[in-house]
């Protein structure tokens, strides 16, 4: 009698304890955007499920939030409504906005051990440039990219160029471009030498040119831009000259979305676009193609791009710790390799590239290494406080010069003045 009651009591207590334990499993919500086609959303879901299965004391709700724009809007709205996520993947350039809106906290609070500090050092410095400010780490790189130069090997052969060698300098790009541009008797161009898209957000690819000329567009504190630097003006002039002076590129604004297609259709022999397009080009190009680093002027150079993990305020200590552990897991070589191979993003840790999976993948598909090799020369993507607005002003200035409405020096000077007006309150 007593024994059965006792057993029942024990069973009841055990049951309630385990319920209490699972009810006390740390609950995390994690917003993620998808900016590449294919099974990116599925891959993230699969990775999250894998982690949750292996760590029963954590529950993670991975929420697909749409584009980068949507994700930051959703995160800001949820935070203002008092219901912020604990983690979110957001553009690396939005860091200052998130700080200004008082939404995120530095990871440093939870990276206290020596091991943790070494872990942060394991990310490529180029990616960390948009992730740290004021001596603190606000973002952990996750889906990052750089632009690269793709070239049509068959078109090169036809034009009498060595199909295995891409242009390495600005001058070479013009020289190759002239040989590659096919014009008919009426002056109609059937194949352009190079295509650097400028619709929507021309600043990103333009920044490649600026960095190659040795200029930076903004400071690390995010409160001063450098738009009217003579080196920047020179880079913009080079871009415009490609169309107007050397006639190796189509004039006017070039559509980003149609660029891979234009490449496949043979409308251009070389194109500048994100390494994230690698799989798309591999699957769809009807010819042999090569991938190279962007050409150099004073130096090789490229901007970085893509999204970081951010740790949001308003969560409990337990949640933050669990969130950081999840981030450390998902950026570890095994998971990072899966992610890179599925999407074409650049794995942000050097050790990932040394793993067996990645070595096998790159042995089979060497172009995947180009973006990584370029990281040595990559710099921070343009990012400041009130980023959307300042970048918007810069984009407008670039567009006005590309369409011939203003000259480079004037447009950039005006843009710098406007940006100064906005950023002065942050100094």
């Amino acid at each position: 009698m007593i024994k059965s009651t006792f057993l029942k009591a024990v069973a009841a207590t055990a049951l309630s304890v385990s319920t209490w334990a699972s009810a006390h499993a740390v609950d995390l919500q994690f917003y993620f955007p998808v900016a590449v086609g294919g099974k990116a959303a599925d891959t993230i879901q699969a990775l999250t499920d894998e982690y949750v299965a292996a760590n029963p004391d954590v529950k993670i709700d991975a929420v697909y939030a749409g584009s980068y724009q949507d994700t930051v809007a959703k995160a800001i709205t949820a935070s203002r409504g008092g219901n912020p996520p604990q983690l979110s993947v957001i553009l690396s350039v939005d860091m200052f906005t998130l700080i200004d809106e008082d939404l995120i906290q530095p990871f440093d609070n939870y990276l206290t051990s020596d091991e943790d500090k070494a872990w942060v050092e394991g990310f490529y410095p180029a990616f960390m440039e948009n992730s740290q400010t004021g001596g603190k780490t606000y973002g952990i790189p996750f889906q990052r990219s750089t632009p690269v130069l793709y070239w049509n090997k068959e078109a090169f052969k036809e034009a009498g160029l060595d199909p295995e060698v891409a242009p390495a300098t600005w001058d070479e790009m013009v020289e190759f471009g002239k040989k590659l541009t096919k014009k008919d008797a009426d002056g109609k161009v059937s194949q352009w030498g190079v295509r650097i898209p400028s619709s929507g957000f021309p600043y990103w690819l333009f920044q490649g040119l600026a960095i190659e000329n040795g200029a930076t567009l903004a400071n690390a504190e995010g409160n001063k831009t450098n738009f009217d630097d003579p080196k920047v003006v020179e880079a913009l002039q080079y871009l415009v000259d490609l169309s107007t002076k050397h006639e190796v590129m189509a004039p006017g604004i070039i559509e980003w979305g149609a660029t891979p297609k234009a490449f496949f259709e043979g409308q251009t022999a070389m194109m500048w676009t994100s390494t994230g397009n690698l799989t798309n080009v591999r699957d769809n190009a009807p010819f042999d193609f090569g991938v190279a680093m962007l050409p150099s002027k004073a130096t090789r150079g490229a901007p970085t791009g893509g999204g970081n993990f951010y740790l949001f305020k308003g969560a409990s200590d337990e949640q933050n710790k669990a969130a950081v552990e999840f981030v450390q897991w998902i950026t570890a070589p095994a998971q990072s390799a899966k992610w890179t191979i599925a999407t074409g993003y650049v794995a942000p840790r050097a050790e990932t590239w040394e793993s067996e999976t990645m070595k096998a993948y790159t042995a089979d598909f060497a172009p995947a290494l180009i973006a990584r090799d370029q990281l040595e020369f990559a710099k921070a993507e343009l990012s400041t406080y009130q980023n959307q607005r300042v970048t918007g002003i810069f984009n407008d200035a670039l567009a006005s010069v590309i369409t011939g409405k203003k000259d480079a020096a004037t447009a950039l000077k005006e843009a710098q003045a406007q940006a100064d007006g906005i950023l002065s309150e942050y100094r």
């Binding site: 697909y64 939030a65 949507d70 203002r80 149609a258 891979p260 297609k261």
Partner: protein
Amino acid sequence: MSWSAPTLDRVLNTAAAWALALLWILPLAYAIWTAFHPAAYEARFVLTAPLTLDNFAKAWSAAPFARYFLNTFVLVSLILAGQFFLCTLAAYAFARFEFPGRSLLFSLVLLQLLVMPDILIVENYRTMRLLDLVDTIPAIALPYLASGFGIFLLRQTFMTIPKELDEAARMEGASFLGVLWRVYIPLAKPTYLAYGLVSVSHHWNNFLWPLIVTNSVDTRPVTVGLSVFSAIDSGVEWSVINAATLMTSGPLLVAFLLFQRQFVQSFMRAGIK
């Protein structure tokens, strides 16, 4: 002898009408072409190109369209139900009741035809934040429920219903709501159908406000889902996007093709002043 003036005139007109019609249907024709052919034929119009359903499969798996459809369906139904309810009551009040402030209130209603919710996006978003309704389907629906157009239309219709019927029903002891239910609503059925079709097609295709007020798969209607899906870094894949477009416009398009006459009649009725 051969060409009399009216015939030539007729031929020219027919030709012009047909030319315009072909031009008008071109976008849809292109969408159908790319949706059923592989990506390589997006810009090449070779008649012998292979047909494929791959694009639909790809589009379906690239974004949760099933959920988007459900959201749109719920949204459109919610809006329609709300509009019928609110606008019927208001139209009845304006049509059959005398009360102070009637003309002032009616002009305020007409104002809504001009000052549409689509323009007040900033403030309405703030309101939704205050009500803690951001990223919910009701949030998309609420600003549209009291429709100036609906009230106006129903008022016109109610005003044409002979007063004798009203009085007859009252003689039989119906309350003022009973009269509405038994006399006015049944007689206004064509207007309800007309207005319903206008409302459904308008809100099925609505984009800007739902874009602003929703952030997640659970609430997004099909139009926003399509735009998010097509805003990716890796360039525009027209064959997949057009497959997705056909899927999202599909229901309305098919309904239109089947019920063409009714559709046109309703829109015509909705416009009659």
